[in-house]
Amino acid sequence: MKKKTWNTSEDVLRLFQTVGRASLLYDIQDSHSGNMAIRHRDESGNDWIVITSTGSQKGDLEPNNICFLSPAETDFGYYKASSETDIHARILALEGVAASIHAHTKEIAVVTLDDADKPNQPAPFIPVDPLGYYHLSGVVPVDWMAVPSGSPEMAKVIPERLAEHPATVIQAHGTFAKGRTLKEAFFRVCIANNAGYVVRLLKRLKVDVEGLRQRVWDSPQASFSYPPPDYTIDDDDVCDFPGETEILREFQKAGARIFESRLSPFHSGSMSVRGVGSMLYAPKASMPREIGGPLREVPLEVEDGDSPEIQVHKQIYAASDFQTIMHCHVPEAEAQAHFVYPGDDGPLDRIVPIDAEGSFIHLVIPVVPAKTGIAELVRLLHDYKVVVVRGGGVWAVGAQSLSEALHHPSSLREICLYRIGAFEQGLDLRRMEPGKARNW
């Protein structure tokens, strides 16, 4: 006989609270929207579906907002639990799935709208950014639902979609994602929203999105630098350098800033500080304060089994004196890298700031193709400190500190926002760019 208690453990509560707060920070929920669920086995060996209560504020979850339900039968918990509990329960029943999230991911929701007669089958969403493409298996299904909230229809279709895909979109409503952990599911909704945002930006920049999609679809290898590392689920609490308390704080600060300032979606990107024989490495650079991520100390030499991502860090260090490296997937830069000046026949090869601070800190920021070699990347990093790789994120370096490296993607985001805003208003970017930037 199961013990009917909702006394949540500290760990479960904290997990829901931190992911809930992060989802608000990332602006993929409104005050009360969305829901999160996990499969959970308590200390007595009882299995539960743990899910947020209906109408709860995900940014401020209290213990009594976390409901414990039987996975096998209808129990009283269903009175209080999310109106979409049935959907989550069926997602959680999928093989290998232990968590699910539904979020009001406005960017991908808006970019997947259509004005066709209903009912219809909307086109699936094809990401054109590397995170979206690789982490969302190249395509995100989109479905129209007559009752797009908590309906039996949704409880049927969504688990079917998620049996095949990491995330799926309900038109005009938001994204559902599955995960082995709640953090993985959250990662996926963030990646989906980011992918939608990149496409939205591309449209604002009048980039030929369909042409780009075709190229990505035809040859993802040529479109992106390399596949980002697989999402790991079991190492978020690992810290190999607890004694380096000050550097630890720097990682935590930088990680939180990357996440909160949207310099890279949740748990994407990477950053490192180099020592003499080893480097301290955060493989999930975008880390909300209360969630964190793995912090490793690894040899500077390239080793068997190193991901392409970590190899780039090591190769940059081997060819330079830099002490810190940051790799972020700044969506505004991702989009800007595909911008084609009116009258040109290919995308730009340099981003020229038009804002005051940007234009003095970075006279220009180079944009290079996805397959640019390390030697060229290092050369450009020496001269510019930050480089945008089209289909490969933003690489930035510091001679001393993480904070120094962080400043580059952060100011780059602003630079891109200025340029995108100016272009949208019909302003002539070329006329606005400082003349001296042309030769540098």
């Binding site: 350098f241 380096e244 000050e246 550097i247 704080r249 720097e250 500080v273 180099r274 020592g275 003499v276 024989g277 080893s278 301290l280 330079s320 004196d321 002490q323 003095f360 006279l363 290092v378 050369r379 020496h382 001269d383 400190k385 510091g398 001679a399 001393q400 500190s401 904070s403 120094e404 962080l406 400043h407 001296k436 030769n439 540098w440």
Partner: protein
């Protein structure tokens, strides 16, 4: 490389004071590309011309004064000269940088560097003019102080561009921390260049010229120039603080972060009201007449002050603290007065203060006694003795003769070298190394001995480096952090620009200006490579001079006697010293003894030393 880059004249002036020979040698264009000018070029010229094992005060010592390509342009602060020599204090490389107007005047004579060797039979001055270069007798100014000498050599000069570089009595008497001065109060201070001049009977170098240099790619140069001014106007230190408060504005801040030394680095405890007495704010309120700047400097940290009837310059932060709190003295007027005196006598105020602090501790411990000190009660806090001690040191009178050797030789002579707060026999400046590993490692690995500037200006890195700030107590991050800061300093010294520009920016604007000026590739990557090369040559010099890894260490006090930093007891343990030193060597491509490895030498294309 055979073609001469723009920005240089292509000529070195070589003066042999023993023979009286004056020669012109061509500047190897490749050396501009590989060593730039200033510190880099000077170091290479010295390395090729000297037997580094010679006695620093013998005729074989060589002095190189090098200008830099940017000198003569309108780049901010680009007027700093650099002097290298074998140090009278450390026995290793002496490398001293100075603002003022002498270096631009020297470059306008049409030379990029001046090499001086030998010893004149009697006091001389070198006179460099457009129409002639001469070695002239200087008996009439020998014995005069720096101000008197400067006035005497400028008096009656029709050419208003005439500038004088000279020593005072301290240099003549080979005080091991004697300075060489220009513009009356600007010092090539550290490492005892004045003593080396004195040993050569060289009193002064007077220059006047009118040669100009041209910029090759004006647009490129201009983009770097504009960026540099923009950033200088933006950073708090460079836009206002240095002008308003001078470097003494750091006193309160450094105390706040528990780094302000007290009583020969015994501790870091001060009463707030005492610190306030010697702060930059109090200096500005009580004594400051006006702020001013070196050549082309928009920051203007110079303090033109007045105490009673006497006008002069200073004190800067280091002077204030080393003669002040480190000697348990908080008397602003006394510190300022003796600062004036040190300028006139031609002495480095950091080593002066550090040596007095050591002597005071020796006295308090009964190791030095009244019979050794001409009856003076040489206790901490004796501000009334400062002027008298400065004079006795400069003229090597009584206890002054002992003190003129610097604190290491003084403490060793009395059997207690452990009370000398020196590294490579040079006094540690006014930041306690226990309060920051980066500071400690910077001091340890500075090629010239303890120096806040040659040691990477670590304090700026740890506390007001803006985005570049790094942790204070990271064993992992300090070695590369300091290596990189050393490198930036090497480049600034080789470009002839002020260290304080580093508060606003590092390489980028300089890289553009240098590329635009010379027409050569001076990208940031190239500047880093050049810095690594210069650091390796400085190391080779020190190894040849007999210095070893054992000299790259801290006085035992700093690993044994803790101070409180933010509520925690802090030392720099011997293990931390050993690990950071080793990691620093590795970061530089040096072996465990600090020898640049063959691979490093080859990759930096350092090549063999030319025969002296």
């Amino acid at each position: 490389m055979s073609e001469l880059p723009w920005g240089v004249h292509g000529k070195i002036l070589e003066v042999d004071l023993s023979s009286g020979r004056i020669e012109e040698a061509p500047l190897d264009p490749g050396q501009v590309a590989d060593y730039i000018g200033g510190r880099g070029l000077g170091t290479r010229l010295l390395y090729d011309r000297i037997d580094a094992s010679c006695d620093a005060l013998c005729p074989d010592n060589v002095i190189v004064i090098a200008a830099a390509p940017l000198i003569g342009t309108n780049a901010p602060t680009a007027g700093r000269g650099h002097m290298v020599f074998k140090s009278a204090l450390s026995g290793g490389i002496g490398s001293s940088n100075c603002g003022g107007t002498w270096a631009p005047a020297f470059k306008s004579t049409g030379y990029d560097a001046l090499v001086i060797r030998g010893r004149a039979a009697s006091p001389v001055l070198i006179d460099i003019r457009p129409e002639r270069i001469e070695i002239l007798p200087a008996a009439h100014i020998w014995g005069k102080d720096v101000h008197q000498t400067t006035e005497a050599l400028q008096a009656g000069e029709a050419d208003r561009r005439t500038r004088v570089l000279c020593i005072g009595p301290a240099g003549e008497n080979r005080v091991r921390f004697a300075a060489v001065m220009n513009d009356r109060n600007r010092a090539y201070g550290r490492g005892g260049p004045g003593a080396v001049w004195g040993s050569k009977n060289l009193k002064a170098i007077r220059v006047a010229g009118q040669k100009k240099i041209q910029v090759k790619d004006k647009e490129r140069y201009q983009s770097g120039l504009e960026q540099s001014f923009y950033l200088l106007k933006q950073a708090p230190a460079t836009k206002r603080l240095l002008r308003d408060l001078g470097t003494a504005g750091l006193v309160e801040l450094i105390n706040l972060i528990n780094m302000l030394p007290h009583r020969n680095f015994l501790d870091n405890r001060h009463r707030d009201e005492d610190v306030e007495n010697v702060s930059g704010e109090t200096l500005a309120k009580k004594l400051l007449q006006r702020a001013a700047g070196c050549y082309l400097c928009p920051m203007g940290c110079q303090r033109h002050t007045r105490v009673g009837d006497k006008k002069g310059e200073g004190p800067e932060y280091e002077t204030m603290v080393m003669i002040g709190p480190d000697c348990d003295i908080y008397d602003l007027e006394a510190i300022t007065r003796v600062n004036y005196l040190c300028n006139e006598l031609g002495m480095d105020t950091i080593s002066f203060g550090g040596t007095l602090a050591c002597a005071m501790e020796l006295f308090e411990r009964g190791i030095l006694q009244a019979k050794d000190t001409d009856g003076l009660e040489l206790r901490f806090g004796r501000s009334d003795l400062l002027d008298e001690l400065a004079r006795r040191i400069a003229f090597r009178q009584g206890i002054g003769d002992r003190l003129a050797e610097g604190s290491y030789r003084l403490a060793r002579a009395f059997g207690h070298p452990e009370f000398s707060m020196t590294i490579k026999k040079q006094e540690i400046p006014a930041y306690d190394p226990r309060a920051s590993f980066t500071q400690a490692l910077g001091y340890m690995t500075s090629p010239t001995g303890a120096c806040h500037l040659k040691g990477g200006y670590a304090v700026s890195l740890a506390f007001f480096g803006g985005t570049k700030e790094i942790p204070r107590f990271s064993l992992l991050q300090s070695p590369i952090g300091i290596r990189n800061m050393h490198n930036l300093g090497i480049i600034q010294d080789s470009l002839g620009v002020c260290r304080f520009t580093g508060y606003a920016f590092s390489y980028d604007p300089w890289a553009r200006m240098m590329s635009g000026l010379t027409g050569l590739d001076f990208s940031t990557a190239r500047l880093e490579e050049i810095a690594n090369r210069i650091a390796a040559v400085e190391r080779l010099f020190n190894l040849a001079a007999g210095l070893t890894e054992a000299d790259d260490t801290l006085p035992a006090r700093f690993s044994r006697e803790p101070i409180l930093v933010a509520g925690e007891e802090r030392v720099v343990s011997t293990n931390a010293v050993a690990r950071m030193r080793m990691d620093y060597y590795r970061a530089r491509g040096w072996d465990e003894q600090g020898n640049p490895t063959p691979a490093t030498l080859e990759s930096l294309a350092i090549g063999k030393r030319k025969s002296p």
